[in-house]
């Protein structure tokens, strides 16, 4: 099939960006969206032009590198699918496709479709962990975890940190990402001791990074390649409220619940 692409090109962080139109010729439907972009880039290079820069690595939908806004939908039309796992069979011959980078104040554009998602790492650095220095762990089977709990935790832990939730959210909110980590750790017995200081610290960091708030549009859940539910946001709010209520602001929440 042949396609018309309108791709956001931006030389650098400070540079002005604009859409440039490209033709993608005889694209096979077994190509992934990124392989289609490869074809376009090969042609550009042959013509002595600069290829379109975009983040990608695993191309298996797990590393969270790829990040394209395709026709106004983060990661494109197929639900629960990262850009690299989106195949061209979901498009039709002659279709026009708009490709844009993630857009958020916290995600400055570095070049073309590449943005800086370091803010997500900093949210994790603020508290998205269980303090368990190497060594001194007790036997794994001494900690019993209900299957239901671990399954729920795993649903949240599946987050690949792609930032599509932020990109899709009309408020540029990182609530789904942050809520997912808080839920993953907060649902496990190992995560209880730091549960409340964790939520206070991560939320504070999230705000400092200038992500927006959540007004419950639900766009993030639809865009999430791991289909993480907005229930994790409710859980984050609950823990946050508890943390403040129990004077656990940054305090060392005891292991209750």
């Amino acid at each position: 099939m042949n396609l018309t692409l309108h791709v956001w090109r931006q030389a650098g962080p400070a540079a002005e960006g604009r859409f440039v139109t490209y033709q993608a010729h005889d694209i096979s439907e077994d190509m992934s969206f990124l392989e289609m972009m490869d074809v376009v880039n090969e042609e550009l290079i042959q013509k002595g032009e600069l290829p379109v820069a975009f983040d990608h690595d695993c191309r298996e939908g797990i590393c969270g590198s790829c990040s394209m806004m395709i026709n106004g939908v983060a990661h494109g039309p197929q639900r629960g699918t990262a850009t690299c796992q989106l195949f061209m069979r979901h498009f039709h011959d002659g279709e026009e496709i708009w490709v844009e980078p993630w857009r958020a104040r916290a995600f400055p554009v570095i070049k073309d479709l590449v943005v800086d998602r370091g803010a997500l790492d900093r949210i994790v650095a603020a508290g998205g962990f269980i303090t368990a220095p190497t060594g001194g762990a007790r036997d794994a089977n001494n900690i019993l975890v209900a299957k239901t709990a671990v399954d729920e935790a795993m649903d949240a832990a599946a987050c690949i940190g792609c930032g599509a939730c932020v990109a899709a959210c009309p408020n540029g909110s990182a609530s789904l990402f942050t809520g997912a980590k808080i839920s993953h750790l907060g649902l496990l017995p190992q995560g209880q001791t730091e549960r409340y200081r964790r939520v206070i610290d991560m939320v504070a960091r999230m705000d400092e990074e200038q992500f927006g708030g959540c007004t419950w549009h639900g766009e993030c859940q639809e865009a999430c390649p791991k289909e993480i539910s907005i229930d994790v946001i409710a859980r984050m709010n609950r823990d946050y409220l508890k943390a403040v209520w129990m004077q656990r602001d940054g305090g060392d929440g005891g292991g209750e619940e």
């Binding site: 969270g64 796992q85 650095a125």
Partner: protein, 637 residues
């Protein structure tokens, strides 16, 4: 160069304990005076960086992705082995040790493998403490599954995302140290050279992939944990960015490269769908627990699978290897697949594929159970192929997956350059000539959490290191070298894209140095590779500038290194006239086509030393003694 493996003496069960006692310590107050550079944020790198920072060292960690969490370890699916014997099915440290040595076709170092098996137990404890959501039984205890090459159930897993969950555990520990200001993370930063001063590794030179800025990072010790080089074949299950640059530059600075030809071809990958293919996708080996591998009995049978009656199907793994059946080790399963396809019994377009069929398992356990176990893998398969594996059998074919070879290291994981340590897939490691499933995650974490933090301390405690800083001429030279090379790549302005060269190289490697190798083919490859390399440096087209994010330039540098490494791989493959594990020399096979080792002549580690461009690399041999596992023709029949 002498290869001193520094294996502690004493009985094998006591070696590591004893060694830990004998090792020098650094007093806590002094630790922060030492800078340790860790290149790589995968399982090995992240766990080492976090653990060293926890100990109080001043750590700098580098990765080329935009976040340490994206290291290729994230893609590991199936699981991680540990000799916990939670299933009470007769597992033990000894058995894991034995299985790994045997699985590696008796080409690994007993002492290292034993230590690995010992530490496997602590890894699971550590990861659970960090909140890794391993699968559980209803009672709340940890669940296990079986993996290729083992008859016990010792594999721990988190759905089909084990590597992701383990890496996130290590990544979170790492970010915690970042938050505490004890560790500095450098994402989107590529190591382009190693700096050696007075015979010791004293730092690295990097290039920022965002600004192009070339920078020196002096250090007291350097750890490379930069992963495998499977992408030398262009098509592999590795991430697009996986590369050999870091270890190759170290090799050129004097680190010996061990067993480069030991590459693992994974039997269960999604077959290539066309020329445009940019990478191959693995379908976790764990699928072989419940899937049955088969092809039609007669050649060129083009009927759809459901129309081929049982009687006309050949479940060849179950037929050829009754005791291990569908769970026979990777090298064996891959070659068997190649064989049936060469016989013209392959399925799917081009006849390059075999069926992995879940019909029986679904009948036996019900679709729900199968969905529980492999749901996300099935989805991934359907996304890519547009077939529903609950209804039609999967089509799979072997693909390059893992490289057992890597930089040579001693028992302390130190290379032949003092101060340069290597962990994870980047070292030649504990897997011999073939790695068993679920053992790489185990090795990466054993290296990073437990071995390196101890041995780095020993190195720093035992040696008096003169202070160096970035103004040292050695750094200046390295920086100049890096800038110069980049400038050269940009100034060629030829006709061909980097990818076209990479594809060409990959094809040569796959055809002549792939699943089956022979003298003539390897000699041919050794002619072709220098030709491709020569054209590359004459005719490659790398657009853009050096002072910006330039992905074409990144690729070019990596492919340039692959073009050199490929030659070493073939040289090693040619010299090793035996078949062992992943290295199959057609000249050396049993009557029924199994790999035939030649222990008399080849029971050694082949460590190659760089001897300057244009000169043949020098071979050094580390003989392998086997006191505990007695050498035998590997059989899974």
């Amino acid at each position: 160069m002498e290869l001193n493996s520094r294996i502690p003496d004493g009985p094998i069960e006591r070696k590591w304990d004893k060694h830990r006692f004998d090792m020098k310590l650094v007093n806590p107050a002094n630790k922060r005076k030492f800078t340790v550079v860790v290149v790589g944020s995968g399982l090995a790198g992240a766990s080492a960086a976090a653990s060293l920072a926890e100990l109080g060292y001043n750590v700098k960690c580098f990765c080329f992705q935009d976040s340490p969490r994206r290291a290729h370890s994230i893609a590991a699916q199936g699981g991680i082995n540990a000799a916990k014997n939670y299933q009470n099915d007769g597992d033990s440290v000894w058995r894991l040790f034995y299985d790994t040595v045997k699985g590696g076709d008796y080409r690994s170092r007993e002492a290292n493998v034993y230590r690995l098996a010992e530490l496997s137990v602590n890894i699971i404890d550590q990861c659970v403490a960090q909140g890794v959501p391993f699968a559980r039984e209803y009672g709340g205890l940890l669940a296990n599954r079986s993996f290729g090459g083992a008859q016990v159930s010792r594999t721990f897993y988190a759905r089909g995302q084990t590597g992701q969950q383990l890496l996130l555990g290590a990544y979170q520990a790492l970010e915690r140290q970042v938050g505490l200001g004890r560790l500095r993370m450098y994402p989107r930063t590529e190591m382009l050279d190693l700096v050696v001063i007075d015979g010791r590794a004293r730092g690295i030179v990097t290039r920022s992939l965002v600004t192009g800025e070339v920078e020196s990072h002096p250090a007291d010790a350097v750890i490379l944990a930069t992963g495998g080089y499977g992408n030398v074949f262009y098509l592999s299950t590795n991430a697009k960015g996986s590369n050999c640059t870091a270890i190759w530059r170290a090799y050129k600075r004097g680190a010996a490269f061990a067993n480069p030809c030991y590459t693992q071809i994974h039997p269960t990958c999604i077959p290539q769908s066309g020329e445009h293919q940019s990478k191959l996708t693995l379908m976790s080996e764990s699928l072989r627990n419940d899937g049955r591998v088969w092809v039609p009995k007669q050649k060129g049978d083009r009927r759809p699978p459901d129309q081929i009656p049982e009687s006309e199907r050949d479940y060849y793994l179950e037929r050829m290897y009754p005791s291990f059946g569908n769970l026979s080790p990777r090298d064996i399963a891959s070659r068997a697949a190649k064989r049936v396809c060469d016989e013209g019994r392959g399925v799917g377009p081009g006849g390059l594929g075999v069926y992995l069929d879940f019909a029986d398992a679904i009948k036996r356990l019900g679709e729900q159970v199968i969905r529980e176990r492999y749901g996300n893998l099935f989805e991934m398969y359907e996304r890519i192929t547009n077939d529903n594996p609950y209804k039609v059998p999967m089509r799979i074919y072997p693909a390059v997956h893992y490289t057992m070879g890597g930089l040579w290291v001693d028992y302390n994981l130190m290379s032949t350059i003092p101060g340069l340590h290597v962990g994870g897939e980047a070292n030649f490691s504990d897997h011999g000539a073939n790695r068993l499933g679920a053992s790489a995650l185990m090795q990466g974490l054993a290296d990073g959490y437990f071995v390196l933090p101890a041995t780095i301390g020993d190195y720093l405690g035992a040696n008096k290191l003169a202070p160096v800083d970035a103004s040292h001429p050695a750094f200046r030279d390295a920086e100049r070298g890096v800038a110069e090379r980049t400038r050269r790549l940009l100034s060629i302005n030829g006709k061909r894209t980097v990818d076209s060269f990479h594809r060409e190289l990959g094809k040569v490697m796959w055809d002549y140095c792939g699943m089956a190798r022979n003298e003539a083919g390897l000699r041919h490859a050794l002619e072709r590779i220098p030709q491709i390399r020569e054209e590359f440096w004459r005719n490659v087209n790398v657009p853009g500038s050096d002072a910006e994010l330039n992905q074409a330039l990144e690729k070019a540098g990596r492919v340039a290194d692959f073009l050199e490494l490929a030659e070493l791989i073939c040289t090693d493959a040619l010299h090793r006239r035996e078949s062992c594990g992943g290295h199959f020399r057609e000249e050396s096979q049993t009557p029924d086509g199994e790999a035939l080792r030649d222990d008399e002549h080849f029971a050694y580690v082949a460590a190659w030393a760089y001897a300057g461009d244009g000169n043949a690399p020098v071979l050094h041999k580390e003989p392998l003694e086997f006191e505990h596992v007695h050498l035998s023709q590997r059989s899974y029949k």
